[in-house]
């Protein structure tokens, strides 16, 4: 093969590989992206299908523990009137408590109950779901001012 031809062949190979990667990524994203919902995003009587994430604040006084000692249920709220009831079996992250932000991954049952497969530990005590965050402003400066 001539040097010029070889460079052209390599260039074409690289382009094919990149196009292939983009197509593969797009098909993967179509099937496996989990959409994020805050309670306010949900329309009455409708629940999203498949794996999704939800996020909001854990409502004060809503946390219940089941008899097996490892299953909990709690309510997630935001500034909208909507609420999401969540059930989770597992050890919750250290930063999980009533009145603080939470993000959960899982799926909705037909009854609207959200079965969480994972409570995401946002490993920062200042973490807030983005929507609530925008209103409270910067936490760093706030905590310093105290």
């Amino acid at each position: 093969m001539k040097r010029k031809d070889q460079r052209a062949a390599l260039l074409i190979l690289a382009l094919v590989a990149m196009v292939g990667a983009v197509l593969l990524a797009m098909s993967g994203l179509k099937d496996r992206a989990a959409y994020f919902y805050a309670p306010g995003d949900l329309k009455a009587g409708q629940v999203p299908q498949g794996a999704v994430r939800i996020g909001g604040m854990v409502e004060k006084g809503s946390l219940q523990r089941a008899a097996d000692g490892v299953t909990i249920a709690f309510t997630v709220r935001d500034e909208s009137p909507n609420r999401i009831r969540v059930r989770y079996k597992g050890i919750v992250p250290d930063l999980f408590k009533e009145g603080s932000g939470v993000v959960a991954e899982g799926s909705f049952g037909p009854d609207g109950l959200f079965a969480a497969s994972e409570i995401l530990a946002k490993h920062d005590e200042n973490y807030m779901p983005p929507r609530l965050d925008a209103k409270k402003g910067e936490h760093k400066s706030e905590s310093l001012a105290k």
Partner: protein, 638 residues
């Protein structure tokens, strides 16, 4: 005073980097006498920024609360190690560490690089200064670490307890050294483009720096993975978190670059390709820095949210990558085509390696960036392990296959039949492993099954280049390649075993109760309060037994006082055939405690493999440097 001294040193270092850039450009434009000053300037600049960094360390060690950064992130009661490592456990400090490492790397090039043409070296140092300048500006205008606070608060805010771990002293510096090492490879590429010097000599000069950066990235990622595994208490070793991807992407690009630079150095092939990869690799470390430092992600890595900073880094990113791409576009025509090779050859296998690595890089990049882009348009979504595992997994396995075959192929031209014959033994071993695993572990999923079988094949194939050689006379870099490739096989075995055979139990247990997980019976003996220097904890006592002997595990739930935070400290027992991982959860109020127990067979192989990959890199580095030195001496002797 120390803070003012540090700030002055930082300004001076910034001014010197401007001078370094100016003199470099002047020298390249034919200015007489400028070239000889560039090297000394690079060294003095490194000394100054090093002094600024030492000043910041000193402030943290003294807990000087009149400095805003110290007040926000430190606490007088903190153990000394974390006062020290806490210097870079925050945004400003870690950016200062970034430029310090950058300047020291530049000084190292100035002091030790002997094989590169003087003109190319001057261009390289000028490019390095241009990168440094952007980050100095970022520090001085948007992230001043030495800003004073008046009046000084009586006590500091403390350091995020998750970061209060010996890992903090090791993981960020290693990773930064790796990121920044790649910037050197990039500067080399820019320098060679400017002076039209892309060829084997340039590749040989660049290779040790790429290798060193790649070794450090490998170590940083491996250490970070183990740190997350034991510190976060979720039992996972890789979460496809954007910040993890931020370190993986430069590694993938650096791995590709490492292999293509070998083709360029040995066979004078893949010229433009190698330069492009250097640009891509540096772009990825800039993207990584952007993701982690801009505050666009909320995690333990992004310390504060400040949109100005994100914009600043984004502009730097656009300038450097855009500039490099424009330079590449303008000069690629002057890069001559390299030597040719047949598709079935060592070069061919390395091209396949590069293509697959780039495909994986693209997949990870898209998966990491896509949610950020959709969020900008108002749709929130998350891309997690389901996406990454399913799209990256199969291609990584194909890459492992290419890796097994590559070293057994000849340069320039080989015969397919011969290659297949050389691969017969590893291939046979792989087939046997596949059947054995399938029979012994019915119902195993496809990816772990293939992963385990491939691990054996890869292991055997990576040792094959040593076969029938006189081991004493085998060059050190061949050993390095064998050890690194074997490390990939070992790591692959660990990943597959962990994903296929892990056992998990989640229970609420009373004191005295016995729970079994995997081969172990675990008795919940007691819970006791314990205290550390700046935390108190509830400590569980678990006695684990398998067959005869038994041992004690003490997982803790810790409460830190500053800032007030709870963390769980997993107790992990390492055995030859795996790890027992225990976490103490919350009490349920009725006398029971949550216990989360994992038995993870052969999970340690993941990090052992990672360490082997790095050690192999180190062997190759030593071998290459030695050989270069010998060659140079021989030349000088003539």
């Amino acid at each position: 005073m120390i803070a003012e001294f540090g700030l002055a040193a930082l300004w001076l270092a910034a001014a010197l980097s401007l001078l370094q850039l100016g003199f470099g450009v002047a020298a390249l434009r034919g200015g007489e006498g400028f070239a000889s000053s560039v090297r000394p300037i690079a060294v003095v600049q490194a000394v100054l920024v090093g002094a600024a960094f030492l000043a910041l360390i000193q402030l943290f060690l003294r807990t000087d609360l009149s400095v805003a950064l110290v007040a926000e992130n430190s606490h007088s009661q903190k153990p000394l190690l974390y006062k020290f490592a806490g210097t870079w456990g925050n945004h400003e400090g870690s950016m200062l560490l970034w430029v310090t490492v950058l300047a020291i790397a530049g000084a190292a090039v100035a002091l030790f690089e002997r094989s590169l043409k003087e003109r190319t070296l001057v261009a390289t140092l000028a490019a390095q200064a241009a990168i440094g300048l952007g980050f100095y500006a970022f520090l001085l205008f948007a992230s001043n670490p030495f800003a004073r606070l008046n009046p000084a608060p009586p006590q500091g805010n403390g350091l995020n307890p998750l970061l209060q771990d010996p890992g903090l002293a090791f993981h960020p510096p290693t990773l930064y050294l790796g990121y920044v090492g790649i910037s050197i490879a990039f500067s080399f590429a820019v320098g060679a483009l400017i002076t039209r010097d892309v060829g084997p000599a340039f590749a040989k000069a660049m290779r040790p720096w790429v290798l060193a950066a790649w070794i450090l990235l490998t170590l940083g990622i491996t250490a970070g993975s183990y740190w997350a595994y034991y510190e976060l208490g979720w039992g996972g070793w890789w979460f496809w978190d954007p910040v993890e991807n931020a370190s993986l992407m430069p590694w993938l690009a650096a791995t590709a670059l490492l292999h293509s630079v070998t083709v360029l150095a040995t066979r004078d092939g893949l010229r433009a390709w190698t330069v492009m990869l250097a640009v891509v690799a540096f772009s990825m470390s800039m993207v990584g820095t952007f993701l982690v430092r801009s505050g666009i992600l909320t995690s333990v890595h992004s310390f504060a949210v400040d949109p100005r900073r994100g914009a600043f880094i984004l502009i730097l990113l656009a300038l450097y990558i855009g500039g490099a791409l424009i330079l590449f576009g303008a000069r690629v025509g002057t890069v001559k085509e390299g030597s040719t090779f047949e598709p079935v050859s060592r070069e061919g296998a390395l091209v396949l390696n590069n293509l697959l690595l780039c495909v994986i890089l693209a997949l990870v990049f898209i998966g990491t960036i896509y949610p950020l882009i959709t969020e900008a348009f108002g749709t929130k979504l998350s891309i997690g392990p389901p996406y990454f595992n399913s799209v990256v997994g199969p291609i990584a396995l194909a890459l492992a296959l290419a890796m097994a075959a590559g070293p057994l192929m000849r340069w320039r031209r080989d015969r397919l039949f011969e290659v297949v014959r050389r691969l017969a033994l590893p291939g046979g071993l792989m087939a046997v492993a596949l059947v054995l695993v399938f029979v012994l572990a019915p119902g195993i999923r496809v990816l772990p099954l293939l992963g385990l079988a491939l691990a054996f094949g890869v292991g055997a194939a990576s040792l094959a280049p040593l076969w029938k050689r006189n081991l004493r006379r085998t060059p050190l870099f061949i050993w390095g390649m064998a050890v690194s490739h074997l490390g990939i096989g070992v790591s692959l075995a660990g990943m597959a075993a962990e994903s296929a055979f892990s056992k998990e139990r989640l229970v609420a247990a009373r004191l005295g109760e016995t729970v079994s997980v995997g081969p172990y019976a675990i008795r919940f003996e007691s819970v006791d309060p314990v205290a550390g220097p700046n935390w108190t904890a509830i400590e569980g006592k678990l006695t684990a037994s398998r067959g005869g002997g038994s041992f004690v595990l003490r997982p803790q739930a810790r409460m830190f006082s500053a800032p007030p935070t709870e963390t769980s400290e997993a107790a992990i027992a390492t055995r030859l055939d795996g790890q027992l991982y225990t976490v103490l959860g919350k009490p349920d109020g009725a006398g029971r405690w949550q216990l989360r127990l994992w038995w993870k067979p052969f999970v340690t192989l993941i990090w052992l493999g990672g360490a082997m990959v790095a050690v192999g890199g180190l062997l190759a580095l030593i071998g290459r440097v030695r050989r270069e030195r010998r060659a140079r001496r021989a030349e000088e002797g003539e």
